[in-house]
Symmetry: C2
């Protein structure tokens, strides 16, 4: 059965590399308002020393987070040395995330799904504009790019007038997401205020939240998605630290109604990260891009997500993973799932080469790419979902 994953990180063709000389420590460039804890500052210093031109490059390295790191191990890839600015990439080699939470923070995605299932008048749920809606996901099956993903079997109810049936998922989908690792996090009972949230956001990964739409439709009422998601969630092995992303900040979207005070944050924390999803079917020589989106389309920022998550005293631990939810923009080509791109399976998504899709076929390879551009910096992070060997 199917889609599987491998991984590669490549500089985009023609990109300019930024040496440590041309790109000094992002940590040092941070506005004072992002005030760092001394322990985290020490961590950055450790990274910089390890990545400096004169230091011997270690094959692997476990970072000294201030809190215990039961699941997150970090190593550097020597191949990136000199190619990217310091602090830009950290290879995440752990098998397991801690807890995993998935948000639902793209307004366009929530609206699209709402229109499909509840009609245009009731597209957004009443709570959506007041809080970053999210749910707990399954951490054990968060896997790194390169891990095979099998088409799940399960219970579905394709015919409303007949009993449920058991079988292989027929509406296997992707969700274009990004996610961030928490570090260091908070103690149980001690919320993280939104204006301190940045200090606990370690870095970001690309994510594919594989989704079985037919299983989801039958199981999810009233307690949310469960087996329709827990068969696998793929992340890139690269974590891009927030320091590296600071040059790509954009103003936040206008939030109307204004959120409650614990979610109010005037600081920009929206990032201009171009995102692409491509499919390469078994009979195709090249992948075809089906989605062009951007992380800037998020309505709720990661700082707001983190502040909301901990406001009740819930403790977030180093290595916990918090995901964006499907990232869809306003243009149809920016929709981040096949559910939206095929409008609930009512139209084909053309792939060229005489092929098209509504949902995934066995053997499909999924490639998610991120592209960040500045006059002096351009790079691509890519991860693949390959056909099973």
């Amino acid at each position: 059965m199917l889609p599987k994953a491998t991984h590669s990180i490549k500089r985009s063709v023609g990109c300019k590399s930024a040496s440590s000389t041309t790109s000094p420590s992002r940590g040092q460039q941070l506005p004072a308002r992002f005030g760092r804890s001394s322990s985290r500052a020490a961590l950055y210093q450790q990274f910089q020393t390890l990545l400096s031109a004169s230091a011997p490059f270690p094959a692997s390295f476990t970072a000294s987070f201030p809190a215990p790191l039961p699941t997150l191990f970090i190593s550097f890839s020597p191949s990136t040395r000199g190619a990217f600015p310091p602090l830009l990439h950290i290879l995440w080699v752990s098998i397991h995330a801690g807890d995993y939470t998935d948000f639902y923070s793209s307004r366009q995605h929530a609206t699209n799904v709402g229109i499909m299932f509840r009609g245009k008048e009731n597209a957004l749920m009443p709570n959506w504009l007041h809080l970053p809606v999210g749910y707990h996901g399954r951490a054990s099956s968060v896997v790194v790019s390169g891990t095979p993903i099998r088409r799940p079997v399960g219970q579905m109810k394709p015919d409303n007038d007949k009993p449920p049936v058991f079988g292989a998922c027929k509406r296997l989908d992707i969700e274009l997401e990004m996610a961030f690792f928490v570090g260091p996090g908070n103690k149980h009972g001690e919320p993280i205020p939104v204006n301190r949230a940045h200090e606990h956001i370690f870095g970001m990964v690309l994510m594919n939240d594989w989704s079985a739409r037919d299983i989801q439709k039958w199981e999810y009422v009233p307690l949310g998605p469960f087996l329709s998601k827990s068969f696998g969630t793929t992340i890139s092995p690269w974590v891009v630290t927030m320091e590296a992303l600071m040059p790509f900040l954009l103003p936040n979207p206008i939030q109307d109604p204004k959120p409650l005070p614990y979610l109010q944050d005037e600081e920009p924390y929206t990032f201009d990260i171009n995102l692409f999803v491509a499919i390469k079917g078994e009979g195709m020589s090249m992948p075809t891009t089906i989605c062009r989106s951007n992380f800037k389309h998020m309505y709720w920022t990661m700082k707001q997500q983190l502040a909301h998550h901990s406001i009740n005293g819930c403790n977030l631990r180093p290595g916990d993973l918090l995901a964006s939810g499907t990232i869809s923009g306003p243009e149809p080509e920016s929709f981040g799932s096949m559910l939206e791109l095929s409008w609930n399976g009512t139209k084909e998504i053309p792939l060229g080469h005489g092929q098209s899709r509504k949902f995934l076929q066995d053997g499909d390879e999924i490639i998610i790419t991120a592209m960040i551009q500045l006059p002096t910096l351009s790079l691509a992070g890519k991860f693949n979902g390959q056909k099973q060997q």
Copy 2:
């Protein structure tokens, strides 16, 4: 703010202790149909050796599960030696569970909640009788009895015609549950068939799934409970192994409609465990029992829950925690939450001493007790939620 937890395990007054002579290894007594993996059999042998009268009793001990145990550490309490049958109690001293899943498997509870919020005609959702509905919970805030639980703050919408408000939860509730630890579990992509599920169910704990009903009501659509649960979930530090519970097996409830084949299981896996919830308010000299229930009221068995959880290939790891959901029986006094006992806050729950409750007050202590009885064996497991000092 409030309820906090301490723990004690006591034999009930007048109970007869069962020595290792009168109660030989439950593992050896198991019907052949429960066939054990050799690795798990070796584990039981290790326990028995450690608990035998002649062996020196270790202060603590980490069990050699066949799979890595990143989060579950086990130690024996010398105080139980000779008081309970071998294999009966294992002290769970880990800080963290792996993944945590909460089911919703008491028909009476699901019906009660359904009647309150959707009316009698649509009480049970269409999927409820076809699969064990469940959702992923927050593992980081699963705490052992003795850990303070603070009344959470968060976003609520008490007035349908006004915007949401921020503040302390006003409808803080308990949920009487039991849960089991997985061990050893399955590999990603390899489901556990229902007839092998018992081999992966290590043992059981008592659980209080603290719930903020007003936060839950506003946040839970469409992705399920989130912050209304993640502020804390208390478990007993005692794990009772399944071998110890085998003498208390009962026939399973009749399931109509008959479940799909992957959930069909003829073997009894329903357990006769009496459960009690008591509250001790600040002004009370003794706790008052508000609920008398029994684990036998579950509609879906733990084997069915485990088989369903893994049918899509989701991997379950040693130390993962799977909970029953609120355990309510048919009699009003057996309802396992204050939401049900006060019928959504429409009536008082009398506590005597001039006190009553609809939901928890600051300083309330919660005591959950399990009682198992046979002519030769009677014991009580108890855990407390005490007022904060």
